[in-house]
């Protein structure tokens, strides 16, 4: 792997965090820029308002002067109309200008000066107009010619002009700042966009690499898995073959051992039959005179019958052992037939067949509630539980009526665990494994048996895909736990073992 998954995960997180930071920065910057733009726009509006107020005031004062001049020259009443209108408007315009300045601060000195000049100008205009109205046009002209009004007007013009210039400069600065803001915003958006795209690309790269690594790792795991499955299957097949071989071996050996044994037993019986006439002869008083009569009599009456009885006992024993091996190997070879088996009914049947033994010892068999129906081999189950319950009753504790309890529960892996618990004599710790071995028994040898039952049970349980274990306390009782697949057919199909 080029990069560890951890590094890649960290890289992904870092890229995403970086992108978020850039985005946050851009939001902050935009907010700040918006504030600045708002300020600039305000400034533009203010300066524009100031400029227009200045221009309006100047124009109305000029209008008043123009009206006065017209009236003075012509004496016509209609020239007076614009004058009157302009004079009326002047105050209003001045108030508006003053209002604008008052709202935005500054310009008090300028306003005071301007007010004085405008008032003086208006006074001059009013004076001349009044003189003209009174028929004293010459006096009025004299005032005009004295240039007082013109001087005042010039001052007003320059005052307003200067102020207007200043406002104009402010306006230009505000517009420039607005433009600057716009371009900063533009560049920051472009730059931020590029950075976000880069961070996104980084995150995408890291994610892609990470996913790639994951996919690769998964493929590796899958290939390992399938390899493992294959190995397990091969191994299982090997074991199956080895097992089959052992079964065949056991069958052939025990089968071939039987043939000579039949001869040994057969001719021993023949020998025994032939012994009778010999004994008759040996015990006949006629032979007393013969030198070896006493020895012959001992041989015929004691030694030979004793030898024959030993031979017969041994051959019987050997015969039963061979039969046990044969039975086991035959069980191993028997085709199992998975079918639905109701464990409750099965145990009920076993209980019925054991009723006699139970009655004799005052014992009882308690079958738990809700025993499930499983798919398994009926014959094998009958033999397994029949043997276990038979053992539980057979190896009861002295002086205690046997109580055998059978219960079942589902295991997490989908199998069924059946427990057969007794209050019998128990099995010592060191014998827990031994009792499952062929021809091995544990505890007091006071009951007939050959040490076959549990070996047979274990072989059967294995044959139907299960496991058997035991826990026991000497003197207190034993619990056998038989774990069985819920569906033997499915288990066998899975391992490809279902035959026939």
């Amino acid at each position: 792997m080029a990069l560890s998954n951890f590094t890649l995960m960290r890289a992904t997180a870092a890229f995403i965090a970086l992108g978020m930071l850039i985005l946050l920065g851009m939001v902050g910057l935009s907010y700040w820029m918006l504030d600045r733009t708002r300020q600039s726009t305000e400034e533009v509006l203010i300066t524009r308002e100031m400029r227009s107020s200045l221009v309006d005031l100047l124009s109305v004062v000029q209008d008043a002067e123009t009206g006065q001049r017209g009236y003075l020259l012509t004496g016509e009443q209609r020239y007076l109309t614009p004058y009157d209108a302009a004079v009326k408007l002047t105050d209003e315009r001045f108030d508006k200008l003053a209002g604008v300045f008052a709202r935005h601060g500054g310009g008090e000195g300028f306003l005071k000066e301007l007010k004085l000049d405008i008032d003086a100008k208006l006074a001059e205009l009013a004076k001349t107009v009044d003189l003209k109205k009174g028929g004293r046009g010459d006096d009025a002209m004299a005032i005009v010619l004295a240039d007082t009004g013109k001087d005042i007007m010039d001052r007003i013009r320059s005052l307003i002009g200067e102020r207007r210039e200043a406002v104009e400069t402010r306006l230009n600065a505000a517009v420039a700042s607005q433009r600057e803001n716009a371009s900063i915003l533009q560049w920051s958006i472009i730059g931020g966009g590029i950075l976000i795209v880069l961070a996104g690309a980084g995150a995408a790269w890291a994610l892609t690499s990470y996913t790639g690594e994951l996919v690769k790792a998964r493929a590796e795991v899958e290939s390992l898995n399938s390899g493992l499955e294959l190995r397990v299957r091969e191994r299982t097949a090997d074991l199956q073959r080895a097992n089959d071989e052992i079964q065949r071996f056991a069958y052939i050996v025990s089968h071939d051992l039987r043939a000579p044994l039949v001869n040994v037993m057969g001719f021993t019986t023949e020998l025994k039959a032939s012994l009778e006439p010999l004994q008759a002869v040996a015990n006949d008083p006629i032979v007393d005179s013969l030198p070896a009569a006493a020895e012959a009599r001992t041989a015929a009456d004691k030694d030979v019958p004793e030898a024959i009885s030993f031979i017969q006992a041994s051959t019987k024993k050997m015969d039963s052992l061979i039969n046990a091996i044969l039975k086991l190997s035959r069980e191993g070879r028997r085709n199992i037939n998975p079918e639905p088996v109701n464990l409750a009914l099965l145990l009920e049947g076993i209980g019925a067949s054991m009723q006699h033994q139970l009655n004799d010892s005052g014992g009882e068999l308690v079958v738990g509630k809700a025993l499930p129906t499983i798919i398994s081999d009926r014959l094998a189950l009958e033999q397994v539980f029949g043997n276990l319950i038979d053992n539980a009753v057979k190896y009861q504790a002295p002086g205690r009526p046997p109580r055998v309890e059978v219960r079942a529960r589902s295991e997490r892996d989908g199998s069924v665990l059946v427990e057969v618990e007794d209050n019998g004599r128990g099995i010592a710790d060191h014998d827990h494994d031994r009792v499952f071995d062929l021809f091995r028994r544990a505890g007091a040898q006071d009951k007939p048996g050959e040490g076959i039952g549990l070996a047979h049970v274990r072989a059967l349980v294995r044959r139907i895909g299960g496991q058997i274990t035991l826990t026991s306390e000497l003197g207190a009782g034993t619990t056998f736990r038989v774990k069985l697949p819920r569906n033997l057919r499915a288990t066998l199909e899975q391992s490809g073992e279902l035959r026939g």
């Binding site: 039949v262 037993m265 057969g266 001719f267 021993t268 023949e270």
Partner: protein, 148 residues
């Protein structure tokens, strides 16, 4: 078995001489006194039944009853059974398979091939002796056809 005066011969193909002897003794105890021809391997038995040329003409016009063990040192008894039942001269001779095998498929196969009786040798001697004696009693009432 088409008894006294009629020449029914019992051909016993049994590799274990001890078994052969025990079988013979127990048949005799049942009162069967017919000629008993023992063979301990397949090759000799086939030579007797089908002659040197293998045609089986040597067995023509004879009354034969064959006791056959399946486990033979040189061949399986099934081969012999097959040959007997496929030969026009010997096919009517009753064949009694007497063997230790109790495999169900083996038993089916023997009957499929035309075996007349299949007996598994009992494992313990008492039952063995008893079975052979009963077989001997059975022989006493059995009709054996003449071969062609």
């Amino acid at each position: 078995m088409s008894l006294e005066g009629r020449p029914v011969a019992i051909v016993m193909i049994e590799d274990d001489e001890g078994h052969a002897r025990l079988i013979e003794r127990n048949i005799r105890r049942a009162g069967v006194s017919n000629e008993l021809i023992p063979f301990t391997n397949g090759t000799e038995a086939l030579a007797f039944l089908f002659g040197a040329d293998g045609s089986g003409e040597v067995s023509a016009k004879k009354q034969l009853l064959i006791l056959l063990d399946l486990n033979l040192p040189d061949m399986t008894g099934i081969t012999i059974l097959e040959k007997i039942k496929n030969n026009s001269h010997t096919k009517r001779s009753p064949v009694i398979v007497l063997t230790t095998t109790d495999d169900a498929r083996e038993i089916q196969r023997c009957y499929d091939l035309g075996a007349n009786v299949y007996i598994t040798k009992p494992v313990d001697y008492d039952n063995f002796a008893n079975a052979i004696r009963q077989l001997g009693l059975f022989f006493a009432v059995m009709q054996v056809p003449e071969t062609q």
